[in-house]
Symmetry: C2
């Protein structure tokens, strides 16, 4: 634990920063972010023993959200909802249904599914009755749902929060409570047809979110296994070597090789053979080349994986997603349960020091898992599944960074009804009711006598496109002043023509699309 | 615990029922419901000691969701999402933002907020670190959010799950995990203007959900307190007597009177005085009558409450919601924290034995609570709030019952691409990709060679309005057969004109609106 003295110094420095930002009239978001850090530090100090901050002395406890969690502000929610809407529109384009499951499961449902990560599961207190845990992902509850309801085929998406008692780096946007967004196709179908649709869905989602550059890497667990076998890896080491290969997106080959040889006891010769294969990536021509490869062509599992890959690439071509897919032998994926195709989408960015594009992070991943649902079926009946998990938290972060300069609307209000003189609030309320009845999104001040300037400032702050201004003369003459908030241009409109005029202006692009 | 023998008999009877339903070819929903009950019984038997059901013998644990929780099927989710969309559209018409908070809070945040219901709070296990509990409602997290972020005004809605370790009657649709849907206006404004907007919002929501008959009852805590004082209730008994009055929607006056006198020690004379007032309900004329009432007109709190009610009724009139509001002196609301106006919306139905309409249940409730946010502020700063909680679970149940006869679409698929002969799956995939690129919602079979009949049955089952049928002759001639699934009428359309033709048909109402 950081000492109290250090914390106090950090708080002082952070307080200075906040005051500087305020003095420089920085954006509310920027200031709020630093204030949040200040509050975190103060909370830590309070936990560290005694609370030296007088402002908190009336508080019996620290005013904060639980560690690793956060509230979502209206700005964050507006952005998240617009991103999720776009993702859902893609799922619906492909005929997906949605389901929901409880936030907690019987602990036994989760037991034995996550290996050593099981220690990250949140348990509920035993208050008499069942022993429960918060869900760790959406895949295990989905498999439980299939088995419990004896469902043999379904195409569903599920967007919901999951929980992991990790010590995540909050500064890098990782939390203990976060959203997952899964799409899966369950059912016994013909090879690679549902698998190719999952790839197409990832393709469409990254297009609809206007990600400038990305690649969807593909590989196959059977090819990996066959390759390991052909390179002389003992069968008992397949998963361990696979998880070493999985680190190639973050570590150079030399380190991965070292792990294989020194930690996992692989021979240097085997490691070097693997090293040659995992550098390879390409398209259908690479599949053909490997089908003709001396070692792989003699291995049943490798040939099966390559044939499957060939079919998948052909289907990706038919589905129009092939210009973004890449068959990549270094792709391994961490999870044990995959049984067939695996894929992972990564965003690319220009590398400043070369003309190459480099990966800036995985935004979707998945694969085929044909044996998971069977673990829940009393008779062990399998339901083949293939699916993809969209990394929405990272996509939210990318979109937040992209929109940081833009003002995100948190409401959809179209018209603000303002008054220019005192004691006209009843006129204002009457006009609001008229416009609500016409179906418009309308607000006015909850104060009887707000200042006109404040009312107009509210419109600008919230991006409301139109303001109506009522004064005594307007009321007498049966008109209202209609103001375009952006251009500040004003015209008088007769009350009887008002709804049509508003409708026309909103259709004419005056509406501030969020 | 029910004995094993009784359970076995129940399981036998339930199994017979399921078989009968299946033999009678009842709807899948009906059968599934009874199967679910059968599984519940089997699970109970399994818990009761040993599992006599062979089917479960491979299972190490009972395959079920935790007690008091359930999965939501695609049908339920489709209905819920359509109801929530309508409710959210009303919130947006009134300029509301949305926020989200974590599913759990520091236990201390919840402590002391729910009185004796605190025993229903779900605690998380102490796994080292903070002591956490699942949220019990959305109001306390909202107050914590306001204080923590020093927000003095916001108009927000929040739709999310909450958790109560109750022993609810599942058969009456009550659960331990359920949705709440709250709308609140925080901020220091002029009297009754935000309060009247909350009433208007309830009015609009029940209209947009096409509830045939409802009433929004209004009352005021200050009037209740003044009335109790005027009737000789000791100040220390106000809340106790208030909670007795709150039972008038379920119990007759005689029982409530008995509780007041025998359990709460009120004098018979006082109880009788209260009994006269709580029978009263009406509109503005009742307010005037009570303002002239001997006892009430002399009581400061009662007069304040009545003046407030007068203003609220006037504003409801201006907002066009007055034909559905009723000033009702029997409305008390259970929660302690209300400080001003209180309201509750109830659905009405024709009483079979008389011409009167009777209440069939509360679907929204709320009021003003000016002191709650201050409980979280280190300096005790108050943020006045008024809000309403929409009883979405009950509304879902009402809508489910209403739609039971209708088929609810769980997908939005517009076009299904079918093939009439074998080995045309690549043609099908190519056509799907063309139509996805045009923005249509399109599906096809994941099987290479599905039977045409099965493909068309899928369209009927899922309510897909249009099917495209590709055969060898169509491919040769550059056409497709376009089939209206409902009328079964088929026409040939040239490939180049296909997108336009589909668009026209979907616009022409062929689209099956869900």
């Amino acid at each position: 634990m950081v000492s109290k003295q250090i914390l106090e110094e950090q708080i002082k420095a952070q307080g200075d920063l906040v005051r500087k930002l305020k003095a420089a009239k920085e954006s509310k978001e920027k200031i709020d972010e630093q204030v949040a850090k200040l509050l975190e530090l103060k909370a830590e100090l309070s936990n560290a023993g005694e609370d030296s901050n007088a402002a908190y002395s009336n508080q019996k406890f620290t005013l904060k959200t639980p560690k690793g969690t956060r509230d979502y502000s209206p700005q964050q929610m507006a952005l998240r909802n617009s991103v999720l809407e776009k993702i859902i529109s893609v799922f619906k384009k492909h005929g997906a249904e949605t389901i929901d499951t409880p936030i907690f499961e019987l602990k036994e449902v989760l037991t034995g599914k996550y290996g050593e990560d099981s220690k990250l599961i949140y348990d509920l207190k035993d208050q008499g009755g069942e022993i429960l845990s918060l869900r760790y992902d959406l895949t295990v509850p989905f498999a439980r749902y299939l088995a419990m309801n004896k469902i043999t085929n379904i195409k569903r998406y599920h967007i919901a929060k999951v929980y992991r008692r990790d010590n995540p780096s909050i500064s890098r946007g990782r939390y203990r409570e976060f959203y997952q967004c899964d799409f899966d196709i369950a059912g016994a179908y013909d090879p690679m047809i549902p698998d190719a649709e999952c790839v197409r869905i990832v393709f469409e989602i990254l297009k609809v979110l206007e990600m400038p550059s990305f690649v969807i890497k593909l590989n196959h667990r059977k090819l990996l296994d066959g390759m390991f076998e052909a390179c002389g890896v003992p069968a008992t080491s397949f998963r361990a070597i696979c998880s070493a290969v999985d680190k190639l997106d973050k570590s150079p080959w030399e380190e991965v090789r070292k792990e294989m040889v020194e930690e996992k006891g692989l021979s240097e010769a085997s490691a070097d053979l693997i090293g040659e294969y995992v550098q390879l990536n390409g398209k259908a021509d690479l599949v053909d080349k490997l089908l003709a490869d001396d070692k792989l062509s003699k291995n049943k599992s490798a040939v099966e994986g390559l044939e499957a890959m060939k079919l998948l690439l052909k289907y990706c071509d038919l589905y129009g997603s092939s210009d973004k897919v890449l068959f990549d032998l270094s792709l391994a994926r961490g999870l044990d349960y995959y049984t067939g195709v695996i894929y992972e989408a990564v965003l690319l960015a220009d590398n400043a020091s070369s003309s190459e594009e480099v990966s800036v992070g995985s935004v979707a991943g998945g694969g085929r898992y044909d044996n998971l649902a069977g673990m829940f079926d009393p008779k062990g009946r399998q339901v083949p599944c293939v699916g993809v998990s969209i990394g929405v938290e990272r996509l939210f972060a990318v979109m937040e960074a992209r929109k940081a300069a833009e003002k995100i609307r948190t409401t959809e209000t179209e018209v603000y009804v303002a008054t220019a003189q005192k004691n006209l609030h009843e006129e204002r309320m009457r006009l609001c009711a008229e416009l609500w009845a016409e179906g418009f999104k309308v607000e006015h001040s909850y104060k009887k006598n707000p200042k006109l300037l404040q009312q107009l400032q509210h419109c600008e702050e919230y991006g409301i496109p139109l303001a109506l201004i009522l004064g005594e003369s307007e009321i007498k003459n049966g008109v209202v002043k209609l103001r375009n908030v952006t251009t500040r241009e004003e015209v008088e409109v007769g009350r009887s023509k008002l709804a049509d005029e508003i409708r026309q202006r909103l259709q004419g692009g005056c509406q501030n699309g969020s």
